[in-house]
Symmetry: C2
Subunit: 201 residues, 2 copies
């Protein structure tokens, strides 16, 4: 990869950028060049933002969210409904649900889903911590908001069983036609679910 032309410093920058999701070797080179061209406006500020994030960002010991404080801003937000815990696979799912803004509750990040193939077992996920939180007084409902994939649903069932002895209601997200979605492009499973759970107009 252009050895001897771009120096080792630039090569190292490209190699590290290529490890980001969404950037391959070619786009990492483009990204590195953009950074070098916009040194004042982008490279410097980004290096500084990374340094600050590296120093200050911590994982919330309670819910698994990333923030600059532990417990995180979600866990300490008194305006949130403490009776509901939304279980998600990853922090990105937490962010996605917050963008939807439909619920103002607490979260619990599992840190993955069970997977025989990838060797992810229950003890690798934050399931014990979820059970402990769900057992706290005041918690009434646990919404299992895991992906509708095979591994996601396997994990959802495991979580449901782990919570079965507690006096909490365990629910999951509704299946159906995505808002704005075209029926023609949907799979049979989604269409069946949407028909079965049809609601009055």
């Amino acid at each position: 990869m252009a050895r001897g032309v771009a120096g080792p410093e630039i090569e190292r920058l490209i190699q590290l950028l290529a490890r980001l999701p969404g950037l391959g070797p070619r786009s990492a080179r483009r990204a590195a060049l953009t950074l070098l061209k916009k040194r004042e406006a982008l490279l410097g500020p980004l290096a500084e933002a990374m340094r600050i994030a590296s120093e200050r960002v911590v994982v919330c010991a309670s819910c698994g969210n990333v923030d600059t404080s532990d417990p995180c801003a979600v866990c300490t937000d008194a305006s949130r409904d403490g009776s509901i815990i939304v279980v998600v696979e990853d922090v990105s799912d937490l962010w996605a649900l917050e963008r939807a803004g439909a619920l103002h509750a607490r979260y619990h990040v599992l840190g993955g889903v069970l997977s025989a193939l990838d060797g992810v077992r229950p003890e690798n996920l934050a399931i014990d911590r979820l059970v402990a939180r769900a057992a706290e007084p005041g918690v009434r409902e646990v919404i299992v908001a895991l992906n509708a994939t095979v591994d996601g649903q396997t994990t959802a069932h495991y979580v449901t069983e782990a919570l079965a002895h507690l006096p909490v209601t365990v629910t999951r997200l509704a299946h159906g036609v995505p808002v704005g979605g075209e029926l023609d492009y949907l799979d049979e499973g989604t269409l069946s679910a949407a028909l079965k759970r049809r609601t009055a107009m």
Copy 2:
């Protein structure tokens, strides 16, 4: 974008990452999460690599290449053929030609192409510097390796005229069928050029 959930430090990181080519708002969030999860292995080293690049990388005053020294490693490499200058639009094109490894000569980065639409005029490009370099003793050929786009070819003609008074041969890259390319997918212009410039088997 998840305000109050991800703190301002993470938001800033996401916003800066989204300004890289190839990363949109969604993939910038994924990249930021990956960085925060791989703090030791990726976030720290990348921040450091950026800081080093920001401090050490300079633009070669002679050819426009980016390197940690000025003049750059290409300009100071005595093993290169100093009689040939390859004119490219951008440093990424220089890297691409070096990867091809077909020529061991010197380069000249114009820093763009002429574009009436984007307001890029000859004085915005490193054309005067190219003419000065091509006038140096020992230079015999200038290869205009600009993109085969309308703006690229307009610039190629402008560069050729600017060099016309000098005793150097000005050449351009061959048009033809890309190696591994399927004729069915090629445009008429490329096929015409490939036919016109056919060579003996």
